[in-house]
Symmetry: C2
Subunit: 448 residues, 2 copies
């Protein structure tokens, strides 16, 4: 127990009294030395004065664990348990991704009395209950700002900045890979496969991109934000998820002509009786705040009852942004570690007894874009609009781009707000009318 006045290592402006940890530095153990891990080490070295000014003691990377030996041989540790067991290490940083051994690393670290930082949305979303219950029991901190929205401080913005709010809605462009692909399709007019290759070449998509393009990554992040917003545990399986791999470039280009951009949006809306959650490609108007969110950028719009809309925007992918968020977590956490107060105030207020009702997907109403591939003959539009009307789907606009081919033509309909359930019933009946409809009708939600 050393008091600041007697501790020459700490600047006078930081603390004038209070208990200060005895050790001369904060020791960090890094597990996972890929792109982000390397970025963390780089930023900690380059910005060590910034960190020192805020924390008052230096932050030191003591050990790095990775599957294979690394260039920093003096720091290399083969077995992650040697980091977890090391009594000198204050913070364990998990950057390997995936479910295992990430879950084991986080749980064992907390139980060993370590504070934990992770960028792993998959493990958080899947093991939310176990992770935060363990953190409570061990009274240790777990920070994870990099797990959602890359560099955007939206985890903190939601749980602290909007702490007083009754959250009504969260909408986000939460995946840099899909947003990059959709930007390429929109700007260059290329099909999904080609845009994916462009994203892979630019380093914004993995060799196996399925986690991203199927919407699973977005769903993981949405589950985290929704769990934070409503204080319980919202699971990925509670979310209706549709990815972007089926998107037809025709729809992207037609929508562009209508004044819309296409984005993969994760959405959580609070109704009186529960939460409606979905991940799906949506059309956004060119005047919408999301329309300017391009390439690897992410954005999250949070709507509170008193706050109104609050938007956060920044890079969702890339070494610098992700590593920057991790290092900010390290600095913020170290300010508490150095004063022996880490873990006393939990970052996530999670009550495992709180049950949150999940609504059937798509119960909340929205307008939609529809593209019907139909026989080029009279009476077709009357038939379609008749069925839509029967299911109370009200038409906002109809148009017929000049796309006739082999006797098949396209009809573009935008609807007023309608429930997805009603719309799906109508489309099922329309698509069953084989004499008229020649391909499955395309349906894309329009975001207001």
């Amino acid at each position: 127990m050393i008091y600041a006045g007697r501790d020459i290592l700490r600047p006078a402006y930081l603390y004038n009294f209070g208990e200060i940890m005895e050790k001369k530095c904060i020791n960090v153990g890094l597990i996972g030395y890929g792109t982000v891990g390397k970025g963390v080490v780089k930023i900690l070295e380059e910005n060590k004065k910034i960190a020192l000014r805020k924390v008052g003691k230096p932050i030191k990377v003591k050990s790095i664990c990775d599957l294979y030996p690394i260039d920093r041989t003096e720091l290399y540790v083969k077995n992650f348990r040697n980091i977890i067991k090391d009594p000198e290490i204050d913070v364990v940083i998990e950057l390997i991704g995936g479910y295992e051994p990430a879950r084991t690393i986080i749980i064992e670290s907390l139980k060993a009395g370590k504070n934990v930082i992770t960028a792993n949305k998959a493990v958080l979303a899947k093991y939310w209950d176990q992770i935060f219950t363990t953190a409570q029991e061990c009274q240790k901190s777990i920070y994870y700002e990099a797990a959602v929205g890359g560099v955007i401080p939206v985890v903190q913005g939601l749980s602290e900045g909007l702490a007083s709010e009754e959250i009504l809605e969260i909408k986000g462009i939460l995946n840099g890979t899909t947003n990059f692909i959709l930007s390429e399709m929109t700007k260059k007019g290329v099909a999904y496969e080609e845009a994916l290759k462009g994203a892979q070449n630019a380093g914004f998509a993995e060799a196996d991109p399925s986690f991203d393009v199927k919407g699973v990554d977005t769903a993981n992040k949405l589950a985290i934000l929704a769990s934070l917003a409503w204080g319980g545990w919202i699971k990925v399986k509670d979310i209706s998820v549709k990815g972007i791999a089926d998107l037809d470039i025709d729809d992207v280009l037609i929508a562009k002509n209508f004044g819309y951009d296409i984005k993969l949006i994760g959405s959580a809306e609070k109704a009186k009786d529960g939460i409606d959650l979905s991940v799906q490609p949506c059309l956004v108007n060119h005047h919408h705040a999301f329309a300017t969110v391009e390439n690897e950028y992410n954005a999250v719009m949070i709507t509170g009852k008193d706050s109104g809309d609050v938007l956060f925007y920044g890079k969702g992918a890339g070494q610098g942004p992700a590593a920057s968020a991790v290092v900010s977590d390290i600095i913020n956490m170290s300010e508490f570690i150095v004063t022996n107060t880490a873990g006393i105030v939990p970052e996530v207020v999670y009550d495992r007894k709180k049950k949150i009702k999940i609504l059937p997907a798509g119960r909340s109403k929205a307008p939609y874009y529809l593209r019907f591939s139909v026989a080029d003959k009279p009476g077709v539009l009357a038939k379609i609009s008749g069925i839509l009307g029967k299911f109370k789907v009200s038409i906002a606009s109809v148009s017929q781009p000049d796309m006739e081919e082999d006797g098949i033509t396209e009809i573009i309909v935008t609807t007023h707000k309608t429930s997805r359930e009603n719309l799906e019933k109508a489309l099922k009946q329309i698509d069953a009318t084989k004499s008229i409809v020649k391909a499955k009708t395309v349906k894309i939600k329009i975001e207001n």
Copy 2:
């Protein structure tokens, strides 16, 4: 000293051990019961379950001080010192604005061992050194999220979310009143005076709007953000300030035709040898993230070396948004008060010994919009472009809207990036050529 397990008032999920304050609730004393003060009381009552879930003990407004008696007579206190002296009060909330007695309230509260929340940007910017030095000495917290950007959690976003960053640039639309006026001018094509009346009628401008329209309020907020970003004290007098009252509606409309919106922007840029600070009306391209920031909304773009651009956006004015930010401060602060840890980690890392060099205004280069009112005769453009060239001001575009009147015509020039100093020298010489130039040349910075 009560431990959580034995304290039936606290839910088990919050803390499992650690010291918990003995009192049954957090007591708040409110000084200033205007629009925001009333909103704070309203939100604390309506959202008391949200607050209780996060803090674990109820938050109670114990006393309210205002110049005149209020409807809540049971809470009314005439002399603010009775709140400061009250040993039961944990948090003093200063919402009266202005310099005095706001400064006295904040300083005396800290010295009396209270934690303080304020929404007062003027007093913070002017007494930054005294306020944060006193907070350090007393080891008490002072939160002020509502002081900058209304509901936007940008104070926290900058100091914690981007804790690791070397901040390169801060740009913000920081004043709801001026943004509302500029939106009215742009949308309705009305002159400044009429737009100001519209803002006053809508409740977004004071009867005396000079603090807002002259750019002083924006400068206060910019000084706060810059002081936070670079860890010293950047003063309002360090900022070159130009307001919006002189704006000609002609320029707003011409710029609109060129694809630009006009915004009052506070800007702080870090160069190798210091910080360049300004507040001035600027043109922003329709594709810029600031272009969709309309009416009472605010936005702040922070650029870090590793993070890249991070944007925060939300309502900068109005009862709900401002009060929401104050109540979030109360909840966040109460989590520390309840665990007897408030003030141990300072929110503002301020080293009074750190000197920050301020650069002469406008040294960093930018493109500009220029409107010359000139005699409608040959050779004028050659003369003007000759003088611009002499001072190394390079022209990007020239056009001549059809605005000839009484032999005077307008020439619109946009420049490539140029230093303001060079540009001002060129304009001084051009404006001195009375045979050609018939009115002072208008110059507006273009924001990229």
